[in-house]
């Protein structure tokens, strides 16, 4: 089925998320929609799927204009979507999720689960998915959940399938498998829209590429285009994709973790007997697919986890069993993985957020009162130093872009005397310009002699920053390898295979 979008314009108040977008997807084509976070790709697809109503423009399927009042209409017309955040109900089985919204019933109104199971098996077998229709979705790995999403769309006879950032949650191996599935679907005549900001994937699988920036189509490219060309189109200026970094000059081990385990309230072991160290002047990157214990490990370091076994020492003094306050005072800086939830208070101003972790003492507080003029001076200096773009230091951080928010977090954490710097997913959801800035600051911190831990699920970031790479899988360390370890080896390690060359220190 041929899909055509003509002159789509979608506004949110004063913000124009999509500005006169034209796009044609031919039958049996994989069309990549490339753009940075916030460029308007997802908005466009939500318009297509009937979740948003566009102010202007029209959608045509096989040259017939469509009017979608909601997702139901879009699905009926043959459009299916695999959402970035899966639209699956965790406590339902696969079959129940697939049948939801177009349920078949037997006599007497009972759900016809047998028919739904059969449908799941049929589609699952056709693409070699091997998905159990009776498994509860919440017990499935994310890769399999994604297949359930695909089955869900195909069970409604989708002719146009939209994949919204499908690889964000996958291991490199799962990503390869997804690419194969896309090719299979294409061979079966399905048109595919593939939304992503990852250049490598686009070049591997797409037939055509459309680049979107700030809500506008800024160009099209062939999959033969180089990474640099695509990045330049996407960002709007020449970008340097590598990080300038001198070889590390590691000193003595500063942070030593021995036999650390973290246990959740249900008795699940989330971090399983982990031992490693970080030396002065090096960056240790912790790689792994989301949800393999990295989050809990950093929280244990910060004193945020209640059930911890093992020993953590920083420069010879124990950090275990101490409060977060004491850990901070010991000189640990921390960039949490979800800045909006754990890193910032959205309603507070930039200045207030900059002093959040030092609200108990001089120089910010004197005799129980805030030193507002000192705070204002401090905030102005930091805003300048970290290039936070805003209307002033009194702007609520909730109104800043993701990149500027992350700069505020960095400015706060790096303006103390640090003996250890922990950054979890430091560039998640940021634009290329901000990513460059954050990476530079992290390397500068290392060069100043601070041991740095970077937790990232992005192999690009790990490869760019790490002096040593530690890969975690199901709460355990699969291996600690040098920073120049090939991507393919890292990919296998992230899927739980111990590297052949053994564990390097």
């Amino acid at each position: 089925m041929k899909l055509e979008l003509r002159g789509i314009t979608k506004r949110f108040g004063a913000l124009v998320a999509n500005d006169d977008i034209n796009l044609t997807i031919e039958e049996g084509e994989i069309h990549a929609l490339l753009g940075e976070n916030g460029a308007g790709k997802s908005t466009l697809m939500n318009v297509l799927y009937g979740l948003y109503r566009a102010e202007e423009g029209e959608i045509l399927l096989d040259d017939v204009a469509q009017h979608f009042a909601g997702p139901g209409d879009a699905m009926a017309a043959g459009i299916g979507m695999v959402h970035q955040h899966f639209m699956l109900i965790p406590v339902f089985t696969v079959a129940e999720n697939v049948m939801l919204g177009h349920e078949q019933t037997t006599l007497g109104g009972r759900l016809d689960l047998a028919a739904a199971r059969k449908r799941v098996r049929e589609i699952s077998d056709r693409f070699g998915f091997s998905v159990d229709p009776d498994a509860l979705v919440e017990n499935l790995p994310v890769g399999v959940q994604q297949r359930v999403e695909i089955i869900k769309a195909l069970s409604r006879d989708a002719k146009v399938l939209v994949f919204d950032e499908p690889t964000a949650v996958l291991t490199p191996q799962e990503t390869d498998e997804l690419m194969n599935i896309m090719r299979q679907l294409k061979a079966a005549g399905t048109s595919i829209v593939f939304i992503t900001h990852k250049l490598r994937e686009v070049r591997e699988v797409a037939d055509r590429i459309t680049v979107i920036r700030l809500g506008k189509v800024v160009g099209t490219a062939a999959p033969t285009a180089s990474n640099e060309e695509l990045a330049t189109l996407m960002v709007g200026r020449a970008v340097d994709l590598t990080v300038d970094k001198a070889p590390a000059t590691p000193g003595a081990a500063a942070l030593v973790v021995t036999g650390l385990s973290v246990i959740d309230p249900h008795g699940q072991v989330l971090v399983d007997n982990v031992s490693f160290d970080v030396k002065v002047g090096e960056i240790l990157a912790i790689a792994g697919v989301q949800g393999n214990g990295q989050t809990e490990l950093t929280e244990a370091l910060m004193g945020l986890q209640p059930r911890v076994l093992g020993e953590i020492t920083l420069d010879g003094t124990s950090l275990c069993g101490h409060s977060v306050r004491q850990v901070l005072d010991a000189g640990v800086g921390f960039v949490p993985e979800d800045r909006n939830r754990d890193g910032l208070v959205g309603g507070f101003s930039i200045a207030e957020n900059l002093m959040l972790d030092r609200s108990n003492r001089l120089p910010f507080v004197k005799r129980f009162t805030l030193q507002l003029s000192f705070l204002a001076d401090f905030a102005r200096t930091k805003v300048k130093e970290f290039d936070v773009r805003s209307q002033g230091i009194d702007t609520p951080v909730g109104r800043l872009s993701g990149g500027n928010q992350q700069k505020v977090v960095l400015a706060r954490e790096l303006s103390r005397d640090l003996r250890l710097f922990v950054a979890a997913q430091p560039t998640r959801g940021l634009d290329v310009g901000s990513i460059e800035f954050v990476h530079e600051r992290i390397v500068a911190t290392r060069d100043a002699g601070t041991p740095v831990i970077v937790i990232s699920t992005e192999l690009d970031e790990v490869a760019a920053l790490a002096d040593r790479i530690m890969v975690m899988y199901r709460g355990r360390i699969i291996g600690i390898v040098p920073g120049d370890t090939p991507r393919s080896v890292l990919g296998l390690m992230m899927a739980g295979e111990t590297p052949a060359e053994g564990v390097a220190a």
């Binding site: 949110f12 979740l51 948003y52 909601g70 997702p71 139901g72 209409d73 699905m75 009926a76 979507m81 959402h83 899966f86 639209m87 699956l88 109900i89 965790p90 406590v91 339902f92 129940e96 049948m99 939801l100 919204g101 177009h102 349920e103 019933t105 109104g109 009972r110 759900l111 693409f127 070699g128 998915f129 091997s130 998905v131 159990d132 498994a135 499935l140 790995p141 890769g143 399999v144 869900k152 191996q173 390869d176 498998e177 194969n180 599935i181 299979q184 246990i263 309230p265 249900h266 008795g267 699940q268 072991v269 989330l270 399983d272 214990g293 059930r307 199901r474 709460g475 355990r476 739980g496």
Partner: protein
């Protein structure tokens, strides 16, 4: 690894290779609580033990099949039960020590034993009519069960229903008036449903359409209905009681055969129409929620409204109409007060039943059958207090009055633990 078609590799059964182990966290909560109750039990049954003989009557005088009374020596029974309680506590402690999970049946058995011990102790040289005790329990549980069903439906679809109390009260008031004027109890029943539904409309409109905090709307509605019915009662109903507040009650209907089964028959099958409707309602809600299209959609909206929206389900509409349905069901429970038991409307006559029903919803983990059982437990606690004050138990009646609420607190706070409700319950769905 083969180089071709990695897609065909089964990725589903990635389950336990040697993956992360699960350890049972040693939690001494259960043994400690059981221990405390064992000590209390020993104090009551042995230290303050009473001598005499306790009589349990198992049949009513009108039964076809007469079972003999059970006679138990009070002190000896108390000693035996104390020993059993101590043994169960020891078993639970041993299980925790060896890192095993204490099974629920053990806790339930402990509770039943403790209850029997208490009953035997309280009825020294007295006679407890067991069918009467259970019959009364069911009667007191009827409005709780209707309220709990309304709560389950509403919470499962994603709206916290604190307004059950208001829905019960509105149902009680309206059914009394309508049934008095028309002299038709069935019309009263219908009116109660409509009244409960109207209360729900307000809850639904404010929480779904205008995103007002659901708990606050619920609380305000309760206060509003209490005030309104109280005002109308003293200004309109009381002066014209003969016309407006003397509804005909439903007659008891004995189901042939079933009503003659010993113990069960007199308790469950010599009831009024409303109770029989309740049996059907419990079964219907259970089957409906877990085995029909309606229930699947309802649950999906309460768990993940956005996911429901993306498959073309109208989230707002589903929520609105199911919250209304919940109100209608709760309204039926209100009608039981006036048309089933008391026979006239009285100011604030529901007396917190709606909140106990809410507790039953949580205690029953949002499951209609379990919520019904929880409501029966609360009904039993209330009626135990009635029966014991009649046979003249040595426990002060003020203390006995606390019993149902104590049971509620223990049940909800202690035993529910980490049960998980519908994920999106209480959260308004905003479509951007």
């Amino acid at each position: 690894m083969s180089t071709i078609a990695p897609v065909n590799q089964p990725t589903q059964p990635v389950e336990p290779d040697d993956g992360p182990a699960t350890t049972v966290i040693k939690s001494w909560k259960v043994p400690v609580v059981l221990g405390v109750f064992t000590v209390l039990g020993i104090l009551l049954l042995i230290v303050f033990g009473r001598s005499g003989t306790s009589t349990m009557a198992l049949s009513t005088s009108s039964d076809l099949i007469q079972l003999p009374d059970v006679l138990l020596p009070t002190r000896e029974t108390g000693v035996v039960i104390s020993i059993l309680l101590a043994a169960l506590t020891a078993v639970s402690a041993w299980m925790v020590q060896t890192r095993r999970k204490v099974p629920v049946w053990l806790i339930a058995l402990f509770g039943v034993l403790l209850l029997i011990g208490f009953l035997v102790w309280a009825s020294a040289d007295a006679r407890i009519p067991v069918p009467g005790l259970l019959f009364g329990s069911l009667s007191l549980a009827v409005p709780l069960i209707f309220g709990a069903l309304g709560g389950v439906i509403s919470e499962r679809v994603g709206v916290v229903n604190v307004a059950i109390e208001g829905q019960l009260l509105a149902g009680a008031f309206t059914s009394a008036v309508v049934a008095s004027v028309t002299q038709q109890p069935l019309l009263g029943l219908l009116a109660a449903m409509i009244a409960g539904m109207l209360v729900s409309f307000v809850l639904a409109a404010f929480s779904i359409k205008y995103f007002v905090d659901q708990v606050i709307v619920g609380v305000v509605l309760n206060v509003l209905v209490t005030g309104l019915t109280g005002f109308l009662f003293s200004q309109v109903l009381a002066p014209n009681a003969a016309l407006l507040n003397q509804p005909p009650k439903f007659e008891r209907i004995n189901i042939p055969l079933l009503s003659e089964i010993p113990i069960i028959g007199p308790v469950f099958f010599r009831q009024t129409l409303i109770v029989y409707i309740m049996y059907i309602a419990v079964a219907a809600v259970y089957v409906g929620i877990f085995h029909t299209k309606w229930g699947l959609r309802l649950r999906s909206v309460g768990e993940h409204p956005q996911a429901a929206d993306t498959v073309g389900i109208n989230v707002t509409g589903t929520r609105f109409w199911n919250v209304s349905l919940a109100g209608a069901v709760a309204g039926l429970g209100g009608a039981y007060f006036t048309l089933g038991s008391v026979g006239a409307f009285g100011k604030e006559m529901t007396a917190g039943a709606g909140f106990i029903a809410l507790a039953a919803v949580i205690f029953g983990r949002w499951d209609p059958i379990r919520a019904t059982l929880a409501a029966l437990l609360f009904g039993f606690a209330s009626n135990l207090q009635n029966v014991l004050s009649i046979i003249g138990s040595p426990v002060p009646s003020e203390f006995m009055l606390m019993l149902p609420y104590l049971v509620t607190i223990f049940a909800v706070a202690g035993l529910v633990g980490q049960s998980r409700g519908p994920a999106a319950s209480g959260k308004p769905y905003r479509k951007s």
